[in-house]
C-alpha cells in the first residue's frame, strides 16, 4: 500500500506549530516526571550497588536483613576473624572490620529538621577494605579516641559535621577530624569513628556487621561451608555487592512504581490533549482527506498518516521532556532509605534504557491520543469529505 508522504505529515504539524508545541509541551511535562522518577530509582540503585566491593563479604546475624537489625557477638566475631580464606594486608593483618552501626538524629543545615544518619564504628582498616573512600579534608580518626570522620554529603548537609566542628551524641563530644569522599556511594551519607569507642559510648556489647576481604573467590565455598558447619555462627554471609543491591531494591522499586503510577495518571491529561489536537487537525482537513482518497490513497493510508502525525507530535514532546530530564543528572538529592531508616544521598542517573523507555512512553501517549481521531478520518466517506470541505 502506498503511503501519504511524510512531508505532508510533518509540515502540517509545523503549520500548526503553536498548537503542536503546546500539546507537545503537555506531553513533555509528563515525560519529564516519568523519566526523572526512573532516573531517581536508577540513581539509588547505582549508588548502593557501587557501595559494595567485589571481594568483600558482609556478615549479619541470621535473618537480620539490615545492619541496623543485626547483632554479632564478640565471640562470633572472633570465630569469623579466624575463618580460612580471608585476605591480609601488607603487614600480615587480616582484612576484617568489626563494625557497630547506629542511627543518630542530626539536624540538617538547610532547615534544622532532624534526620537519621548512619554512624559506623570501624578501624583504619576500613580504608583498605573500601578503597573507594578517600579523605578529602583533614585526616583519619585515631583509634581509641573520640575523633570521627564524616562523609561528604553529611558534612555538607548536617549541622556540626564539618571539619573541626564538634558533634554531641551518646553523652560525649566527638570532634570531626576529617571529611571523606566515597565516590558517590552510600558511605557519603555516613559518619565513621572508632568501633570500640562507639561500642562503649552506646553501651553496645555486639557488633552489627563484620566485613572482610576474600583472599580469592575460590576460597568462598570452603568458607561458607565452615560457617555452615559451626553451630555457634547463626549468621548470614553474603557478597557486599549483593547486600547493597538488596538494600536498594525496595526503595528503588517503590519510587519507580509510585512514579509510574503518577505518570500514568498525568498521561491521561496529555493523551486527552493530543486527542483534542488531533480531532481538530482532522476536522480542519476533511476536504484534504476526501481529495487524497479520491486520488486513490486508501483508508489505511489516511489512518497511518494521522496516526503518524500524532506519533510525531508525541515524539517532539518526548524529546523535550527527555532533554529536560537529562539536564537533571547534575542535581544531587537525598532521601531516607526506609530499608535502613537512614539518609541516602544520590544523583539522578540517566541511562540509554531510560531514554528508550521514556520515548516509548511518549509514543504510547501519541498512539492512544491519535488513534480515535485517525480512525475517524479514515472512516469518513469520500463524498461526505468533499461536501463538507
Amino acid at each position: 500500500m502506498k503511503a501519504i508522504p511524510l512531508s505532508y505529515i510533518a509540515r502540517n504539524l509545523w503549520v500548526r506549530r503553536v498548537t503542536t508545541l503546546l500539546t507537545a509541551g503537555g506531553m513533555a511535562l509528563v515525560v519529564f516526571v516519568f523519566a526523572t522518577v526512573l532516573m531517581m530509582s536508577e540513581g539509588i540503585r547505582a549508588t548502593l550497588v557501587a557501595t559494595g566491593q567485589a571481594d568483600n563479604m558482609l556478615v549479619l546475624r541470621k535473618g537480620a536483613g539490615a545492619e541496623i537489625n543485626s547483632g554479632v557477638s564478640r565471640g562470633q566475631a572472633a570465630i569469623i576473624e579466624s575463618l580460612p580464606g580471608i585476605a591480609t594486608d601488607g603487614n600480615g593483618q587480616r582484612l576484617v572490620s568489626k563494625e557497630p552501626v547506629v542511627l543518630n538524629n542530626l539536624p540538617k543545615r538547610s532547615n534544622g529538621k532532624p534526620s537519621n544518619v548512619t554512624l559506623r564504628g570501624t578501624s583504619p582498616l576500613a580504608l583498605a577494605l573500601r578503597p573507594q573512600v578517600r579523605l578529602i579534608e583533614g585526616r583519619m580518626f585515631r583509634p581509641g579516641t573520640s575523633e570521627i570522620v564524616t562523609g561528604r554529603s553529611i558534612a555538607n548537609g548536617f549541622i556540626g559535621t564539618g571539619l573541626g566542628e564538634t558533634l554531641r551524641f551518646a553523652q560525649r563530644d566527638w570532634i570531626v577530624v576529617g571529611v571523606f569522599d566515597s565516590g558517590r556511594t552510600g558511605f557519603d551519607s555516613e559518619i565513621w569513628g572508632d568501633a570500640e569507642q562507639m561500642m562503649a559510648a552506646f553501651r553496645r556489647s555486639a557488633y552489627s556487621t563484620i566485613v572482610f576481604r576474600l583472599a580469592d573467590q575460590g576460597a568462598l565455598p570452603a568458607l561458607l561451608a565452615a560457617i555452615d558447619a559451626d553451630p555457634r555462627l547463626q549468621i548470614d554471609a553474603k557478597p557486599e555487592i549483593q547486600f547493597y543491591a538488596e538494600q536498594s531494591e525496595a526503595l528503588a522499586t517503590f519510587i519507580r512504581y509510585l512514579g509510574l503510577f503518577l505518570s500514568l495518571i498525568f498521561s491521561i491529561g496529555a493523551i486527552v490533549g493530543a486527542m483534542i489536537t488531533m480531532f481538530a487537525a482532522v476536522a480542519q482537513r476533511i476536504g484534504e482527506i476526501g481529495t487524497l482518497r479520491a486520488l486513490g490513497f486508501r483508508r489505511t493510508a489516511v489512518l497511518i498518516a494521522f496516526l503518524a502525525e500524532s506519533l510525531l507530535l508525541s515524539l517532539v514532546g518526548g524529546l523535550i521532556g527527555l532533554a529536560a530530564a537529562a539536564s537533571m543528572q547534575s542535581v544531587d538529592i537525598s532521601t531516607t532509605n526506609f530499608q535502613t531508616f537512614s539518609e541516602l544521598a544520590f544523583q539522578f542517573k540517566f541511562t540509554a534504557r531510560i531514554a528508550v523507555q521514556t520515548l516509548a512512553f511518549a509514543l504510547f501517549m501519541g498512539f492512544v491520543g491519535g488513534f480515535i481521531p485517525a480512525w475517524r478520518a479514515a472512516r469518513m466517506k469520500i463524498v461526505d469529505c468533499l461536501r463538507e470541505a
Binding site: P5, R11, N12, L295, G296, R298, I382, L386
Partner: protein
C-alpha cells in the same frame, strides 16, 4: 492507457445503465438518480448541466468511482466499477481518473510541484520519472515558473491550473471536473476551459464536466441535461 472500449459502436468509454442513487439520512430516504442511462464515447468532451440539486455532482461522483450506486451498472472501459471492492476502486481511480474540483482542493502544505506529484506516489514510477512527468504537466498548464510556490502564494486561476496538472499527470483516460470555473472570473475561467480543450483535443482525454455556465458548456462537444435525477432531451445535436 490500457483501458479499452467494449468494442461496441463508436468506441464507448462509459456505459451507464439503469443507474439509481438514493441517500439515506436517518429516517429520510432521498432518491437522487432514477433509472438513468448514458453513454460517453472515448475522447468525448461532455458537459453536464442542470438546476441545483438535480444530481449532477452525484452522477459525476458515481462515474469517477468515489461513490457507490444504489442500483444499475457503470461500465467504464469494460469494467463495471459498481462491482469493484473499495480497495480495487481506489486503485482504479488512481490509474484511470483525473479530478478537477471547483475549489481546486490542493494540499496547502505542499508546493505546486508536490501537489502535482501526489497522484504519482501511487504509481511505481521512480523519483526521476516522477520529476519528469510533473515538469511536463506543469509545462502543459504553463506554470513552470511557479513550481516551488505554495497554493496560498498562487491566484485562484493558477491554483486551478496546478489542479489540472495534477489531474493529467498520471495520463488518465477520464477527467472529471465539477464546476471547474465556478470560483473563477470570466477571463481566468476562460483560460481553464482552454486548457480542458487542449486536454481533450491534443491529448485525447475523455472529459465529463459539470457546469452551470452555458458559455462553459458551449466548449464541450455535447451537453447533457439532468433534471430531478433523470436526463432530459437536449436540443444540441449528438444528444443521448
Amino acid at each position: 492507457m490500457s483501458v479499452t472500449g467494449d468494442g461496441g459502436a463508436g468506441q464507448t468509454l462509459i456505459r451507464i445503465r439503469n443507474l439509481s442513487k438514493a441517500y439515506v439520512r436517518g429516517e429520510q430516504f432521498i432518491p437522487v438518480l432514477q433509472g438513468l442511462d448514458l453513454d460517453v464515447r472515448r475522447a468525448e468532451f461532455v458537459a453536464l448541466m442542470g438546476p441545483s440539486g438535480s444530481g449532477k455532482s452525484t452522477l459525476l461522483n458515481l462515474v469517477a468511482g468515489i461513490d457507490k450506486p444504489s442500483g444499475g451498472s457503470i461500465i467504464v472501459g469494460g469494467v463495471d466499477i459498481a462491482t469493484l471492492s473499495e480497495g480495487a476502486l481506489a486503485d482504479w481511480r488512481a490509474a484511470h481518473v483525473g479530478f478537477i474540483f471547483q475549489f481546486y482542493n490542493l494540499m496547502p502544505v505542499l508546493t505546486a510541484f508536490e501537489n502535482v506529484e501526489l497522484p504519482l506516489l501511487l504509481t511505481t514510477l521512480s523519483r526521476r520519472e516522477r520529476k519528469a512527468h510533473v515538469a511536463a504537466a506543469l509545462d502543459m498548464v504553463r506554470l513552470t515558473d511557479r513550481v516551488d510556490h505554495y497554493p496560498n502564494e498562487l491566484s485562484g486561476g493558477q491554483q486551478q491550473r496546478v489542479a489540472i496538472a495534477r489531474a493529467l499527470v498520471t495520463d488518465p483516460t477520464l477527467i472529471v471536473a465539477d464546476e471547474p470555473t465556478g470560483d473563477l472570473d470570466r477571463v481566468t475561467g476562460g483560460e481553464v476551459l482552454d486548457l480542458l480543450d487542449d486536454l481533450h483535443r491534443q491529448l485525447g482525454k475523455t472529459i465529463v464536466m459539470v457546469t452551470h455556465d452555458p458559455k462553459a458548456a458551449g466548449r464541450a462537444e455535447r451537453m447533457v441535461h439532468l433534471e430531478k435525477g433523470v436526463l432530459v432531451p437536449d436540443p444540441a445535436p449528438g444528444a443521448v
